[in-house]
């Protein structure tokens, strides 16, 4: 407390140049803030505003909604479909993120060990996957899993793994969701793998060697030496993957010919259906707001950990 009182006296009065230099950082970030505010904050604020209104087609055309307070939120929270969709989205996100991170870690560690040629080939393949536009890749997957002409049914049958002629992958939602998960994880692996591979290159080889000399097995070396060093990266990729996988839209939507049944709704599709399908924009906006809130709660843990790790570093 004593120092707090003493400090102002120790500081000389700021000169004009110092004042100007104090404003400079704010001036420099102002354009960035303005752009981010314009493309993120304004639409988000508008979204929240519309979520408190009855906003159907007539209101959309006349640009005039009708204020209904929390009615949209009440309707959604009372809708059993919302609870189903929310539970499904959370479960799907958890499974996808776990699978993505586990597979990516394994591939990243494999990349460290293989010959240069193999590594370059593998990395190129990963970048290729990453660079393919989602709609295009989902279309290709759709053909591969096609009921009549799909190569997957053909190959599985040829391999005598059962009779897959006219096997419908989307008949049973559990099986259908597995297909969606394969496609989502396939698309997510490149980014996570390349990030983790970059991280692995930063782990000092002598520490790992020292652990080896001390008698640590491969599992112990990974779990007690490598993994803790990669923790900040793990936190970031888990956090980002959670955000992306929770909001998954394109894969199930395109895969099911843009008319998915309620069994294939994610929370994003549910919001889109309510907004554009049945022209209840207020209701759709409220779902989107709830989605953002849930996402904040889910990712709060990771964000807090990331910030903590960053402070220690």
């Amino acid at each position: 407390m004593a120092t707090a009182i003493a400090t102002p006296e120790l500081e000389p009065a700021p000169t004009r140049i110092q004042q100007r230099s104090r404003l400079l950082p704010y001036a420099l970030i102002a354009p960035g803030i303005a752009v981010i505010g314009g493309i993120l904050a304004v639409p988000l604020a508008w979204l929240v505003w519309i979520s408190f209104q009855h906003y159907g087609l007539k209101e959309l055309i006349n640009h005039q909604g009708e204020w209904v307070g929390l009615n949209n939120y009440r309707t959604i929270l009372a809708d059993p479909l919302f609870h189903q969709v929310l539970f499904r989205s959370l479960l799907f996100t958890f499974a996808c993120v776990a699978l993505t991170v586990a597979l990516s870690t394994l591939i990243a560690m494999l990349l460290q060990r293989v010959r240069r040629l193999v590594r370059v080939t593998l990395m190129s393949a990963l970048v290729f996957v990453w660079a393919t536009p989602v709609i295009v890749s989902v279309d290709i997957w759709q053909w591969m899993f096609d009921y009549e002409f799909g190569v997957i049914n053909y190959v599985l049958t040829q391999l005598h793994l059962g009779n897959f002629i006219h096997h419908n992958w989307f008949d049973n939602p559990l099986q259908g969701w597995s297909v969606v998960m394969v496609i989502v994880v396939w698309g997510a692996i490149p980014f996570v793998t390349i990030t983790l591979f970059a991280g692995l290159l930063q782990v000092p080889a002598d520490i790992v060697d020292a652990a080896h000399v001390d008698g640590a097995g491969p599992w112990q070396r990974f779990w007690h030496v490598t993994a803790p060093m990669l923790k900040p990266l793990f936190l970031i990729v888990i956090c980002l993957s959670t955000i992306w996988d929770f909001g998954v839209f394109n894969q199930p939507y395109v895969l099911l010919n843009e008319r998915p049944s309620a069994d294939y709704f994610t929370i994003a599709i549910y919001s889109y259906r309510e907004s554009f399908g049945v022209t209840q924009y207020g209701l759709g906006a409220a779902i989107a707001v709830l989605m953002v809130l849930i996402l904040i709660v889910v990712t709060l843990f990771y964000v807090r950990e990331t910030v903590r790790v960053a402070e220690i570093a």
Partner: protein, 431 residues
């Protein structure tokens, strides 16, 4: 991708508001000499509705009369048309003329998106003999909001060679006979694991409705201003039971798929019958996408009723042409529609396009196979004419119900009860 869609919508509304604030207006209307009219007309036609040669002819006719008006015809896809129309009508500069599926008109008319053209009806050729059900689809609360464009009705397209090979001498004239003939075809082609006697994709609700209607059922009925879903009535269920039996015995089509690929599948040669529109004959025999060799092996017959010798009522599909209420060139837009639907161009639509024209006076143009489809249109029905009907369609209520029935996920009484409850709720203004 999640929020992006929603945000896009929100941004779209924002942009629309801004545009509305600064939007201007350009010339049209107050000058009576067509040669002095200027401006640009934007026309939205649906992909595949009119052959390019017909559209080019219409634009040439229009240009001759209005040399200084530019016409841009933009083709739209059916898949996401609801979303596109919503955002376009919300903007300040929507397309001047839009082709609307006849089941969508009520929604946009009731929301004030379309110009009321009741007073201009007589300026369109053949307006006194327009097809009644298309005129009905354009009429909301007694006012006319669009011009009938064309109709489409479905019948069964079949392979005459496969019928002959299975020993079937004449097309079936009752639903029982349809099943019996189908089973003969399945037996005759039992060595082909991909063969379907009647190819019926699970979500093909337009083709399912004739079965519901034939037994006296319906989607919904209105009394005292309130709608009541009736797919769970005993007659509707009877129709769906008959259909489910046909599908399980005769079809190897995807039970969760839609009809988009049925012509390509038919062209591959493993199918004896499909329920289709008249113009699909052209797709099946298309030299690039289809199989021209089938041209001489195709026949058509109406969907038979369960009462022998009669035909089941079919869904009368089709499109109408509307003028956007916010269009800056409403008179020019109407003039373009007048040209498009005049006697000459409508005849072209029928003879070149193979669709059913908008007037009973041209129904004689249906020749050959087309005559079957023209004839089917005479015994046709329509979906509930409600501004909320489009929401029932967009919520996929009927396709989802059919998938549940065909895949056995739900028994017919449960699936129809759930669908009916939903339809009742949506038609009466609920979500």
């Amino acid at each position: 991708m999640n929020l992006r869609k929603t945000w896009l919508g929100v941004i779209g509304v924002g942009v629309a508001l801004l545009a509305a604030a600064c939007g201007g207006n350009s010339s049209s209307g107050n000058n009576n000499n067509p040669a002095n009219e200027t401006g640009t007309l934007t026309i939205w036609l649906m992909n595949g509705s009119a052959p390019q040669s017909v559209v080019d002819g219409v634009n040439a006719d229009f240009k001759a009369k209005y040399p200084n008006v530019t016409v841009n015809v933009e083709l739209q896809q059916w898949g996401d048309i609801g979303t596109k129309l919503d955002t376009a009508f919300a903007g300040s500069a929507p397309p001047d003329v839009v082709e609307l599926g006849n089941t969508l008109v009520a929604k946009y008319a009731a929301a004030g998106a379309l110009e009321d053209i009741s007073g201009k009806k007589s300026s369109f050729d053949n307006s006194s003999t327009w097809l009644q059900s298309l005129t009905d689809s354009c009429t909301v609360n007694g006012k006319l909001y669009c011009v009938p464009y064309y109709a489409g009705s479905r019948a069964i397209i079949y392979r005459t060679d496969l019928f002959a090979a299975a020993g079937i001498t004449a097309p079936p004239t009752s639903m029982d006979q349809l099943l019996a003939d189908g089973q003969k075809l399945m037996t005759a082609n039992s060595s082909d694991p991909n063969f379907s006697a009647l190819y019926f994709p699970g979500k093909y609700w337009y083709a399912a409705l004739p079965f519901v209607w034939d037994f006296g059922g319906d989607i919904a009925t209105q009394s005292g201003g309130k709608w009541q879903g009736t797919l769970n009535s005993s007659s509707s269920q009877q129709g769906l039971t008959t259909l489910a039996n046909l599908v399980s015995k005769l079809s190897r089509a995807d039970k969760t798929g839609d009809e988009a690929k049925q012509d390509a599948a038919f062209a591959q040669g493993h199918i004896a019958m499909i329920i289709a529109n008249g113009w699909e004959v052209g797709v099946i025999t298309d030299p690039k996408a289809g199989n021209p060799a089938l041209a001489t092996k195709l026949g058509a017959f109406p969907i038979p009723s369960h009462n022998a010798g009669q035909q089941a009522p079919v869904f009368l599909g089709g499109s109408d042409l509307g003028v956007a209420a916010k269009s800056a060139h409403r008179d020019l837009a109407n003039a373009w529609i007048q040209t498009f639907t005049d006697q000459k161009n409508m005849s072209q639509m029928a003879t070149v396009g193979g669709v059913i024209p908008n007037t009973t006076s041209l129904l004689g143009l249906g020749q050959g196979l087309n005559a079957v489809f023209y004839n089917a249109a005479k015994n046709s029905k329509f979906v509930p004419n409600s501004e909320n009907w489009a929401n029932v369609e967009n919520a996929n209520v009927i396709p989802d119900m059919l998938v549940k029935i065909f895949t056995g996920q739900q028994a017919i009484p449960d699936a129809t009860a759930a669908a009916s409850t939903k339809i009742t709720s949506i038609l009466n203004g609920g979500g």
